[in-house]
Assembly symmetry: C2
Homo-oligomer: 128 residues x 2
DNA sequence: CATATTGTACTAATACACTAGTACAGTTAG
DNA sequence: CTAACTGTACTAGTGTATTAGTACAATATG
């Protein structure tokens, strides 16, 4: 696992962990069924409280990214439950709107903003 | 002004105000030089404390969206200071990454995610 | 000049976020 | 079965965000 924290960023530790795990899963660096480090191992490695890691793992499970089993460990879940596409779009639209507004605010052209998203999508690789 | 609050959303009031003003400016509903309601007027209308509105106006000024003058009022600023494109991209990339990751998490195709952003960009209208 | 209206600065109360400590319960390994 | 692991539940403390109250300073308006 390649996890690094930025203690002075102001972003809560558990959110940093969640974002990095989500990103790793989305990019295919962590594959379905693969085990994440145990809460205590990761906590010791990062010098933080195990409960902080546990908090992140709980949120990830709530979001359907992982599956935690007491005594067993935490693993990358296989695909989200079948959400309706309309529901997916409903969840995603606020993020898209924010990107659009911020881009316009910075006087970027429509094409420049789209290009930026394309780059980030490409970084995640083709559908692995 | 068309501002509506969602008290039960958990999102701080001043952030809701900032987002809506930014969106209105980006969409051209508020044009350069146009005056925003005074802190007290808007606060009275929304039944909140004037300082909460002031907080939002301060942040908007910090972000270059508006310009506040004591005794005068708060107005929509004209265009951002000339930021280097590299700096703009640096600010925007985290938003793009988040959208990309969330989209992948929901098993949306690259095209579907891009389409969503196009829609939101279109909602803001051609460069007004 | 005088008065009302603007944004600003300061203080403060309340709530909640964040992290940590400790004990518990289930699973695996020997 | 025992021991060492796993995640979970509960409590608790520290800080900070959020909002509000009040007084102040600058501008506009008559």
């Amino acid at each position: 696992m390649l996890l690094h924290l930025n203690p002075s960023s102001g972003v809560p530790v558990y959110l940093q962990l969640e974002a990095q795990v989500k990103q790793a899963v989305a990019a295919g660096a962590l594959r379905t069924g693969e085990a994440l480090p145990s809460t205590r191992k990761l906590a010791a490695e990062l010098r933080i409280n195990p409960n902080t890691v546990a908090r992140a793992y709980q949120d990830l499970e709530r979001d359907g990214v992982t599956r935690s089993v007491p005594g067993g460990g935490t693993f990358v879940a296989d695909g989200l439950p079948g959400l309706l596409k309309s529901e997916k779009v409903k969840r995603l639209r606020p993020h898209a709107r924010q990107l659009a507004v911020e881009g316009r605010q910075l006087r970027l052209t429509r094409e420049e903003t789209l290009k930026l998203l394309e780059e980030e999508l490409d970084k995640l690789g083709g559908q692995p």
